[in-house]
């Protein structure tokens, strides 16, 4: 901008350029020469330069204003508690993120270990398949639950033809929704009781109706209704799933909700 200036005849130097000249900020040699030459013969521009110089000086000497009040700090102002830190889910945001990731990894590990340890392949009775159906229907809210029910139906059909070994897809298909179905398991048990007109509890029925001494460890799905052994796995998975869910809400949903509310 400054270097582009060309002084024509009878044309004054713009104030902006004079201001730059005042600061020694005009680097272009030719422009500098032209400004000097113009100033030597133009009284108006000398006056403008003088006024700009006075202006800069005045700015540097401007008095400081009177303060409307004292700004001395009171003890309350310097207390750390005075700093509003925001709600807990904002304060512990980084820790919450890590905890969510850790809990999710743990859940996957537990699920993986469960599947690996409790390889399916044992024989299953018709009642167990029916239990699965009942459970699948009860937890039917989830699509995964539906998938389990479908798989169970298929399994039931297969079972009707023969009491031969159950195909492995059933427990595998049923395993993933287990955590989600976890909280609903009492309902599932209830549904099961309604379905079967037996006075026995869900667990004991599953136990009693078993026509072969099936290895419990080989029955990940039926374990929902069992009282010991793999039940611990179900419980751990359900608890972990709840923890992950809660952490997800605390880490992502709550801060967003708060932001939206302003």
């Amino acid at each position: 901008m400054m270097a582009e200036y060309v002084t024509g005849h009878g044309e004054h130097i713009p104030d902006e350029l004079l201001s730059a000249y005042l600061d020694g900020d005009v680097e272009d040699e030719q422009t500098l020469v032209r400004i000097d030459a113009h100033l030597a013969q133009c009284r108006d521009c000398r006056e403008a330069l003088g006024e700009l110089r006075a202006l800069v000086r005045l700015l540097g000497d401007l008095p400081e204003p009177a303060v409307p009040r004292s700004f001395a700090l009171t003890p309350e102002m310097v207390q750390p508690a005075n700093v509003v830190p925001g709600p807990w889910f904002v304060r512990f945001q980084p820790a919450l993120r890590w905890a969510t990731a850790a809990a999710a990894v743990l859940l996957v590990l537990v699920l993986g270990a469960d599947l690996a340890l409790h390889q399916p392949g044992g024989q299953e009775s018709a009642s167990e398949v029916q239990i699965m159906m009942a459970d699948g229907e009860a937890g039917g809210a989830a699509t995964a639950g539906r998938a389990a029910a479908d798989a169970a139906t298929e399994a039931a059909e297969a079972n009707a033809a023969t009491t031969a070994e159950q195909s492995s897809p059933v427990p595998e298909a049923a395993a993933p929704p287990a955590p989600a179905a976890g909280p609903a398991s009492p309902e599932a048990a209830g549904a099961q009781v309604e379905t079967f007109d037996t006075p026995a509890t869900a667990g004991s029925e599953a136990e009693a109706s078993r026509d072969a001494p099936v290895d419990q460890a080989a029955e990940p799905f039926a374990a929902t209704q069992e009282a010991d052994g793999p039940n611990i796995w179900r419980l751990a998975e359900a608890v972990l799933a709840l923890v992950v869910l809660w952490l997800l809400v605390a880490t992502f949903a709550l801060p967003r909700l708060r932001e939206r509310r302003g």
């Binding site: 104030d15 006056e47 008095p63 700004f71």
Partner: protein
């Protein structure tokens, strides 16, 4: 004094506040043109300074405080720019702040002239754009370098220079629009060149 304040002596810190509050409030008021907002920034500056005493590595306490105040004021300006409607509503009617609190020097007449011109210059400063005013106040009033202003405002060096020069040109134009201001400016200019030749 800073060492005492660092050890938890609030009275020592408040001595620092009393010494620099005018300068801090002054820069906030010039940048924001809003006494209420300037008050908030000033108080906030001292609270922050107190909390960050450990980070003060030495040097001038005044420039350290002014830097905090300038940064906070610029934050407010940026915030206003993002929400212009809201800030216009919030901005109080321009009231004339009390600027001059100097002790009169030996030459009362020259002092009175300068007082009057200073008040008019403040009014003209308030009429610049935010960008020009920030650049001129920081450069000419506070004595910041081009680089410091560029860092603070996120503008290029060329833009900063251009804002300063345009701002000054506009100030002169504004002062010359009023006959009395024009007369006072001419007087100050002659007085200044008189000082130099002497």
């Amino acid at each position: 004094m800073i060492a005492a304040a660092r050890n938890g002596d609030l009275a020592a810190f408040n001595t620092l506040v009393a010494r620099h509050e005018r300068a801090v409030y002054g820069v906030a008021l010039r940048l924001l043109r809003d006494p209420e907002a300037a008050e908030d920034v000033t108080q906030d500056t001292f609270v922050r300074a107190h909390a960050a005493l450990d980070q003060f590595v030495g040097g001038s306490a005044r420039s350290w405080l002014l830097r905090i105040a300038t940064n906070r004021s610029y934050d407010v300006l940026r915030y206003r720019r993002r929400r212009p409607a809201e800030s216009l509503d919030a901005r109080p009617v321009e009231e004339e702040p009390v600027w001059a609190v100097e002790t009169p020097p030996a030459d009362p007449e020259a002092f009175a002239t300068r007082q009057e011109l200073s008040a008019r210059l403040e009014a003209a400063l308030a009429m610049l754009t935010d960008d020009q005013r920030v650049a001129v106040v920081l450069y000419d009033v506070q004595g910041y370098s081009y680089e410091e202003i560029a860092n603070l405002t996120g503008a290029t060096l060329g833009t900063v220079k251009s804002r300063i020069h345009r701002g000054r040109a506009r100030l002169r134009e504004l002062l010359r629009q009023d006959p009395r201001s024009r007369e006072l400016l001419g007087e100050a200019s002659r007085q200044h060149s008189g000082d130099e030749s002497a």
